[in-house]
């Protein structure tokens, strides 16, 4: 009876260990999969605040996603390529930031801070951004840029969510708003 009991316990124990091993490998795989993104976030922290959102969300992250899309079935290759790409960006992030900052520095950016919006304009922005009511939106940075650098309006909501808009429509909305005020 004792031998039978030990055998049963051994079998159960090995199943348990295998399950725990699987769960751990899944956890490690999931965490490692996010490593390139974490490195890119770190790189974004080294970049000037004005270019941060654009570079991270519109350039680096989409490129990383595209870069890794073919490596889905091969976790090690995916990790290797992703980390290599992200480390390259991390090493170059200061240089990229300096280049873009010095270019936009030729025409000083306008800074519009804490803009209390009239209901019509607020509704329009909320509609465009598809966000719920916010009592005020603050425009943190107006990157006027120069040459061919695209201008961006970065809008920060009260709950710290950030959105970017190309200035076209937003600029005219602001001008209308200023004229009314």
């Amino acid at each position: 009876v004792s031998a039978f009991l030990w055998t049963a316990l051994g079998v159960l124990g090995s199943f348990g260990l295998a399950a725990i091993g699987d769960m751990m490998s899944e956890e490690v795989r999931d965490r490692l999969d996010h490593l390139p993104q974490a490195i890119l976030r770190l790189a974004a922290m080294r970049v000037n605040e004005m270019e941060r959102a654009i570079l991270y969300e519109e350039v680096w992250l989409p490129d990383l996603a595209y870069f890794l899309r073919g490596d889905e079935a091969r976790p090690v290759t995916r990790l290797y390529h992703g980390v290599r790409f992200a480390l390259g960006i991390l090493a170059a992030s200061k240089r990229i930031s300096c280049t873009l900052s010095s270019a936009s520095g030729r025409t000083p950016p306008k800074q519009l801070t804490r803009l209390n919006l009239r209901p019509k304009l607020r509704n329009e922005i909320q509609q465009r951004l598809q966000v719920n009511a916010a009592s005020a939106l603050s425009v943190r940075a107006w990157s006027s840029g120069s040459g061919k650098i695209q201008r961006r309006v970065i809008i920060t909501l009260d709950d710290d969510r950030r959105f970017q808009m190309t200035p076209g429509r937003f600029e005219s909305m602001i001008l209308e708003e200023e004229e009314r005020a």
Binding site: E58, P62, R69, A86, I89, A103
Partner: protein, 110 residues
Amino acid sequence: MQDLDITPKMATVLKVFLEDLDQPRYGFELMKLTGMASGSLYPMLAKFEAAGWLTRGKEDIDPRAAGRPPRTHYTITGAAASSARIQLAELSERYRPPALGRLRPQGGTA
């Protein structure tokens, strides 16, 4: 548009853009075509963009259908293309090896 001193690495990237002026190029594609790492290519793209040589645009895809966000692409401007052609020619001239002396047949009598 600002003048840039073109290095051989920059020339490699510009050559890709000059192959088809209207073709937008993506970071990943440029990495593959030039064999450059992200740490070399992206600062270079920023430099070209800051100097007004490249314009940035967004890939026209449905992110939900594609399962990924739209990428940023770059296109060379007309003025930059002309300037790049001249500078690439100059660079090629600079790196061209000197011509060998005239070849003469040894021991020939003709």
